[in-house]
Symmetry: C2
Subunit: 492 residues, 2 copies
């Protein structure tokens, strides 16, 4: 097959877009800014969902489902949150269509079916959920309330990109309520670490764990934590956020609980989410000019086996051996595809599975049959070796683990090589253009300086990392004192 | 705990509504006609999803995701479908809010952010999906295309009921494309049988498999198949539908394929779906005046263990034995809850787990400790027996199977007892009021007669069952000849 993929080095952005489409992950739809997630892409998303869902349940959360629509009066109750999202809200104003009297066979909105109160298509669900929590929380016995929702949300974006920024996207949103601020902060941090573990152990993406600056906080939160990964073009990507909401939503929706001591207090809230944006991170972090490079733990197909044969008889011989191996590997929980299509040549198949990022490819031909061997190719290093066929059942699981580890290590080394401490603004600007990546620089802590840097360089403070040591320094722009370096980068 | 449930015999409808709320399945939301699915209800829905999803994959389908919104011009392309849903469409007309100049702190729809073309919130996804399929299908090699989507949909209903009829609901919708009419019909029937198997083997609900009359077909389909269950009040509930779409959508969206022989033909389509309505069927089919009766295969908690103890020491002794048993049962794939709350008394716990429909309850007290016994209570029959504690690990799995089978059998016997052959219209009307259920009667095949019966009795033709034998007869209303009986009932 002819892939026709642009090279990363020539046009990273076009490479990404074409790869997402050609590998069968997603495509643009007839609806402005909304994507279609194609079966292969959705299969990866399902694997992510399953892993994350298990992690949420292991940390005590239950799933529930809340309405898609938020009445305007509820939406605007928490003012900061409402203002933060107001500019990107899709609004339902009518509930009926009728035949268009002027255009036979066409429909128009029925002017008599106007809603008394407009409905906002949820851009996030704090408002509808906290209005519900008011009925669920009376006493300390009802706390903590630990709920997660898998849902679609809509944020009307003017400039969209497949997975990274779309008008509709899929996500999960956790919404919890606690008796004390301390417990809510612990929850906020717990879920940040769940996200970081997921990113590192499944996406194979090393992430910086940190806090956002006040400027970059979620609208309505007292603190926003995030994980930030570095993509191959040196731009950062926020892969998950976890918010400490304080009592903001409890106050807006009057959610109080009777304490053990007989008092009545507002509860403390958190919310946290990851979305189909993770699909974009997955592609951008690891893939190459030949196509996707999927970490084995998220690959819908972990092993593909391609027969190279002359005639039906040889195919039958190969098939017999392959199907036995397939069964053995599947018994170990490995997903295996035997690509015995007779409509395509092996070279075409090789290229197709490379494009789709299958971690391990096994090819077996006539000579292999004689010698009891097979050719094993790794997607990550493109290394090929000849192996004893009988060894494969043990070798393949170990190889998948090795590939998972190698992909992570490669991304980790890349990030290390592209994280630079900088003390002068000139150097900062030079690096952003010449060697983009994370820049660790001192910042005076003011929104003014942050804003200035953003305007002048398009770099933003990605986060104040949780593990950055205290260090005396001065802001590279203003010369004001600073106590620690923060992570800067241009970002998706 | 005080359940305060109405009795089925006194007010079935109120009983249903209160049970759904009190058992923690769902509740009404602040959004007209939209429900909140609560954690316990969602946990059951998740079990349904998992089973159905496995069945869809086993029959060759892949999941994907298509946009929530359908541009009006696409929506109206297949005219029958569009007209069928036009009266219940939520319509997005604007994409931004702004501060309301007249009301500080409030928002209003930004009049300058009106969409050029209105977006319909999907009531079903044929239009957006077939407009996508046009790009996916070129040749016979692309067929069959077997896709499923898990999604939320919106149908603006004036009179809503939790799970049974809500403005927003969750469902899956399969959308497939085939080279021939024969293959598409086979697919339509295959999925009907998947639904029927699911209903009978998991929901424990016997269903009639049949075809809808032309009047009751899905808008845009050539044929609609359905499964129909009988609820305890003698009303029928349609639990799933599968549609043969012919070439209607292929023509509306110009989806053609190159045949092997070099021709160009429209493809043939199907669609099929089940929704959170199944939750309503589950409740209505089996539950009683004490609460839910869940089939073990769909119960989030299959076994609850309640300690009856005096003092910490006795609790510790009981806990040790119980936790060992719990581990053994969990190793067999059984979900077990040990309810050792010290804030509630055993009687309260018994009532609560009864309300929640947990199939098996085990109680263990001081005397049991001495005797090596435990009390085992079945939710379905309310039978209690004393058992040797050491036998439980083998007894419980068998008991769960027995309960599953018994719940099905009970529903089956109920349906048999409430399915009546009727030959006179007077008898038909009398039965509907005095002994509601399925009525097998002859029908002359005309929409006029069907419509008249519906208007006069509120009973509809639920389906023409696939397994009804041919039988000469006359329509009970018109005296016109009929070749087979059809299923009538009042329905949800
Ligand atoms: Zn960060
Ligand atoms: Zn039917």
């Amino acid at each position: 097959m002819s892939k026709g993929l642009p090279k990363r080095s020539e046009d990273y952005s076009l490479w990404y877009n074409e790869l997402v489409k050609k590998a069968g992950l997603a495509e643009n739809s007839a609806v402005r800014g909304c994507m279609v997630i194609k079966p292969y892409g959705y299969a990866i998303w399902e694997k992510m969902q399953r892993v994350l869902d298990d992690m949420f349940k292991a940390t005590g959360h239950s799933n529930a489902y809340f309405p898609l629509f938020v009445p305007k009066s509820l939406f605007e109750a928490e003012e900061q949150n409402a203002e933060g999202f107001a500019k990107e809200c899709a609004v339902v104003t009518h509930y009926r269509l009728q035949n268009d009297p002027d255009k036979p066979g066409k429909l128009r909105v029925d002017p008599n079916a106007k809603l008394e109160e407009e409905l906002i298509v949820r851009p996030t669900s704090e408002a509808i959920i906290w209005s519900t929590y008011k009925g669920w929380i009376q006493s300390y016995r009802d706390l903590p309330l630990l709920i997660n929702q898998w849902a679609n949300v809509v944020r009307w974006e003017m400039r969209t990109r497949l997975f990274l920024r779309t008008a509709e996207f899929l996500w999960q949103e956790g919404h919890t309520a606690h008796a004390t601020a301390k417990e809510a902060v612990e929850e906020t941090e717990r879920m940040l670490h769940v996200y970081a573990d997921f990113a590192e152990n499944f996406l194979a993406l090393p992430v910086v764990r940190g806090k956002k600056t006040p400027n970059e906080r979620f609208a309505g939160a007292l603190d926003t934590y995030c994980i930030e990964g570095l993509m191959q073009d040196g731009k950062a990507l926020q892969a998950g956020t976890s918010h400490f909401l304080g009592q903001n939503f409890a106050q807006a929706f009057d959610v109080k609980y009777a304490t053990k001591e007989g008092g009545l207090e507002y509860v403390w809230g958190t919310s946290w989410g990851v979305s189909t944006r993770l699909m974009g991170a997955l592609v951008m972090a690891h893939s190459d000019d030949e196509g996707l490079v999927l970490p084995p733990k998220l690959a819908p197909i972990q092993v593909v086996i391609v027969p190279i044969y002359k005639g039906e008889e040889q195919l039958a011989q190969i098939s017999e051996k392959v199907l036995a191996l397939k069964k053995q590997l599947e018994a170990k929980g490995i997903s295996v595809k035997f690509d015995d299509r007779d409509t395509e040549r092996p070279g075409f198949k090789f290229a197709e599975w490379e494009l789709k990022g299958v971690p391990v490819r096994i090819a077996i031909g006539g000579r292999d049959l004689e010698n009891g061997t097979a050719e094993v190719a790794r997607r990550d290093t493109k290394e090929k070796t000849s192996q004893q066929f009988d060894d494969l059942v043990n070798l393949v699981p170990a190889l998948l683990d090795e590939i998972q580890a190698n992909i992570y290590q490669r991304a980790f080394d890349f990030r290390e090589a592209n994280t630079t401490k900088v003390d002068s603004y000139d150097e900062f600007k030079r690096l952003l253009d010449e060697k983009p990546g994370f820049i660790l620089a001192h910042w005076d802590g003011t929104p003014e300086t942050e804003e200035r840097i953003k305007e002048e360089t398009k770099a933003t403070i990605r986060c104040i990392a949780l593990d950055t040591p205290e260090e005396e320094g001065v802001d590279m722009v203003t010369g004001q004192p600073s106590k620690r370096r923060v992570y800067f980068a241009r970002a998706y």
